[in-house]
């Protein structure tokens, strides 16, 4: 066995080497195509083209492993459908008729429109949006604030900011920092680190990390931990592979998470299984929380959440009694009106069981070396009289800086009503809202059509580009750009090794446009110069320049457990947490000041078996959406033959008995419908789903279908967001019911399939509910 791995041993300290006429470069993938990770890879390049890619065995993050999306990177990066140069629309919107133009001409057109709108309507009438963000999570907002001078940077109609931001905002006010399962990811020597230990229990809540790899978390770290003895509790409506391996599987009713989380707290507190020492020393508001959660007895939670009572009690006991335990949570937490409450309870559960920032618990993490740029970067460049006009500014968490972006739902309402002011321009970079992110996609489609000027920056021609764009700009993929990855640790550089026609990195596009609009805010020579400036001014604790870090490939800052004991969390250096009380806020004092409920609470989804029982008779399933696949990242990767070989069609899961009653067999195409609209997917029968729950995939469009309307790549035909909603948020503005709509299911027939949803939306004014 010794000869194998010689290669990796030999290149352990190299960041670049030659193999004949091929150059090998160790760097980081992030991204497009999309992902929220940041794995170490080795590119093999020749003549400015990537000719090979593999995982970097010497990178501690992924240790040589990759998921199929990176392994198949060559098909993405060399795909004939990629955008090659700037395009200007020549037909009507939706006709897919374009003319090739130069970058200069594209910038001139954009600058003229920006200037006209700034002059005639004010800069706030320009909205810049991003979606998953490729590798850019602070650049589009910088463009919006600094170049457009508008405070309205936002996500692509992600109702209620329902991806990580509700959890992040809660953690901001309760801990002052984010938590992650301690998978040793903070140590260069990983599982060998003497301080680290595997959690005895990991509770996975509303996530399938193996496929999701969310937020810098390599999902298969979970299986690494299982191989090192960690046991699982899984809260998920679907019996995922992880759920089959769990000691306890809680088959939750989608949308009832906040109630179940309070029941966990109640069991742990009422059975006196909590960590008295930690609670007394380090938390605020324990007694009030204990009082509040009392009503969530195991019996009541079992009835409301459709989980097994005994399993719930046993799971809560196991979690609390474990020597160390951790929660891995997913976007299901955010995707309910009660999202912030669920996050608050789960965060509190980690705290009161003594698992905060301890080995094998949930570690508190910060951006490596203090490089903390995010959605607020550049906000100070918005003119002072314009900044308060940010849409959704009335929500206190946003006003106080716990969330920087404008509120997506308020943006939609402004587009529809012209109030408080009209929206005249959309800048869409890394987002394809009608395919993926927007709730109530047909409604968003109608609103977006009315906007005067729209620019799309993307990798491929997307349904959103065809439907709305006046200018389409080609973005570079990961191998074609400089960049960095700091989410959360280690700090990694992204090295440019290739070129593709006229595609430019997102940052270069932002810089070049910014220089033309507000040069004083864009002093950097190019993309790489900007990152060098970041290294020297934002990631200063590293003491490295961009080039130095690039040659090291990655760098781990020093990590310490129990930072609250050591005065490492607060700017004043005192022990405690970076919150108003200095304690971990089980009761959120800031909420009380803002007139919000400072304790966890529960509210039924506004359409549910219990809040609208009569409607539930007509729509007798609770529909959850958005489960992840190995093959795709949201709406991306649908062009790739290899990925589609594994996953050719959109799939919905339904209980086998429920399907039989409806005459539905495995693989049948079925319509899923509610009052807002309908869409079709193929049925996959599942013995273990609750008979009252269905699960549909998101992000589906069909690059192989006609681009022009009414087809629009079939983007509405299988779109679960024909049934979701916008403007149905919690009291903080956060959270939206993406994962808990009610719906009915029936088999597709020739007769009931005459008018496809894409035609309904693009030609017939939408579904009747939307038309109203």
């Amino acid at each position: 066995m010794s000869k194998v791995l010689d290669y990796h041993e030999k290149h352990k300290n190299d960041w670049r080497w030659q193999e004949g006429d091929v150059t090998a470069t160790r760097t980081t993938m992030w991204t497009g195509p999309g992902c929220h990770n940041g794995c170490g890879i080795v590119y093999y390049t020749k003549d400015n083209k990537v000719v090979g890619i593999e995982g970097d065995v010497n990178n501690p993050v992924n240790q040589g492993r990759l998921c199929m999306r990176c392994i198949n990177y060559l098909e993405s990066t060399n795909h004939p459908d990629r955008l090659k140069w700037p395009l200007k629309r020549v037909g009507e919107r939706g006709e897919n008729k374009w003319e090739r133009i130069s970058w200069d001409e594209a910038y001139d057109i954009i600058v003229k429109n920006v200037r006209d709108i700034q002059k005639n309507y004010g800069p706030e009438s320009i909205v810049a949006m991003e979606g998953t963000g490729r590798n850019i999570v602070w650049q589009v907002n910088y463009l919006c604030y600094s170049a457009f001078q508008s405070p309205n940077f936002t996500l692509g109609f992600l109702s209620g900011d329902s991806c990580y931001m509700p959890r992040a905002a809660v953690e901001g006010v309760t801990n002052g920092d984010f938590f992650l399962v301690d998978c040793s990811q903070q140590f260069e020597d990983r599982y060998e680190n003497p301080e680290w230990r595997a959690p005895e229990y990991i509770m996975i809540w509303g996530s399938n990390p193996l496929a999701a790899n969310a937020d810098g978390f390599f999902g298969h770290w979970i299986t690494d931990l299982m191989q090192r003895g960690s046991k699982l509790i899984v809260t998920d409506p679907k019996l995922t592979w992880l759920a089959t391996k769990a000691d306890y599987w809680l088959r939750i009713r989608p949308g009832s998470d906040a109630a179940l989380a309070m029941a966990f707290l109640n069991i742990v507190i009422s059975e006196d299984l909590y960590d008295h020492d930690f609670v007394e020393k380090w938390t605020n508001g324990f007694n009030e929380v204990a009082e509040r959660v009392k009503e969530w007895t195991p019996e009541r939670a079992a009835a409301v959440c459709w989980v097994d009572k005994d399993a719930l009690v046993a799971a809560a006991r196991a979690f609390a009694k474990a020597e160390c335990a951790a929660i891995h949570w997913g976007v299901a937490v955010d995707m309910a009106v009660t999202g912030v409450s669920t996050a608050q309870s789960l965060n509190s559960l980690v705290a009161i069981t003594g698992n905060m920032d301890v080995p094998g618990g949930n570690i508190l993490v910060q951006y490596a070396y203090g490089q903390g740029l995010a959605y607020n970067y550049g906000f100070e460049n918005v003119p002072q009289d314009v900044a308060p006009k940010r849409l959704g500014n009335e929500y206190p968490l946003r006003q106080m800086g716990f969330g920087a972006n404008a509120h997506e739902d308020a943006v939609l309402e402004a587009m529809e009503s012209g109030k408080p002011y009209p929206i005249k321009m959309l800048w869409l970079q890394t987002t394809n809202p009608i395919a993926n992110m927007a709730g109530e996609a047909p409604r968003v489609y109608a609103a977006m059509k009315k906007v005067d000027f729209c620019v799309v920056v993307d990798l491929y021609m997307t349904p959103s580009a065809v439907a709305f764009a006046d200018i389409v700009l080609p973005a570079a993929m990961s191998s074609e750009r400089w960049g960095n990855r700091n989410w959360y640790t280690p700090l990694r550089t992204i090295t440019k090794v290739a070129e593709y026609y006229e595609a430019k990195s997102d940052e270069d596009i932002i810089l070049e446009l910014g220089k033309r609009l507000q040069p004083e805010f864009f002093p950097w020579k190019d993309n790489k110069d900007w990152y060098d400036w970041i290294m020297l001014n934002e990631a200063t604790e590293s003491g490295m320049t961009f080039d130095e870090l690039q040659e090291k490939v990655y760098s781990f800052p020093k990590f310490e457990y129990r930072k609250y004991e050591k005065g490492l969390l607060r700017p004043d250096g005192d022990p405690g947490f970076n919150t108003v009380t200095g304690k971990l806020e089980l009761k959120i004092e800031l909420y009380e000041m803002w007139g919000l409920d400072p304790l966890p609470w529960y509210e039924e989804p506004r359409e549910s078996p219990y809040s609208t029982p009569e409607l539930f008779e007509e729509y007798p399933f609770v529909m959850t959406t958005g489960n992840r696949s190995y093959e795709f990242f949201h709406s991306e990767h649908r062009q790739l033959k290899l990925n589609r070989e594994f996953h050719p069609d959109p799939i919905m899961d339904i209980n086998a008995d429920s399907a039989a009653k409806l005459g539905i067999k495995e693989g049948d195409w079925v319509w899923i419908e509610n009052r807002k609209g309908r869409f079709k997917q193929r049925a996959r029968l599942d013995q273990f789903m609750d008979p009252r729950v269905i699960r549909a995939e998101h992000g589906w469009w069909f690059p192989e279908k006609e681009a022009a309307e009414p087809s629009l790549f079939g983007v509405f035909d299988s779109n679960c967001n024909n049934l979701t909603s916008m403007c149905d948020n919690g009291p903080t503005g956060y959270g939206a019911p993406y994962k808990n709509q009610i719906a009915k299911v029936y088999k597709c027939t020739e007769e009931n399939s005459e008018i496809m949803p894409s035609t309904q939306v693009t030609r017939l004014g939408g579904f009747p509910y939307v038309k109203k």
């Binding site: 000869k3 593999e54 299986t223 191989q227 089959t244 599987w249 190995y630 290899l642 013995q687 273990f688």
Partner: protein, 115 residues
Amino acid sequence: MSKNNEKYGLLINYEFCTGCHSCETACKVENKLTYGQWGIKVAKDGPRQLENGKFEFINVPIPTSLCNLCEDRVNMGKLPSCVQHCQAAVMFYGPVKELADKMSEKPLQVIFTPV
């Protein structure tokens, strides 16, 4: 293929194979296999519920006749592509005798000798 007259193979700890398709994809890309062709393919059983209430959901990647244990990569000192990219870290390459020793350490493992 044998090296120093030693038989080599793949050991798979299928207790933790998640069915993520990385091995299948890595093999297809490495060997430029077209639609429908596989050098390794994941077989699935389950999920099923057992009488004791627990669940079973087994994935096992099975190498096919198109697998040559990545001879070229191994000669360069690299791991077979499926082994290196396996996200669950459940695949091992080596002399069958060494793999057999490793196999005796725990249940739910299998050794394949595709060539």
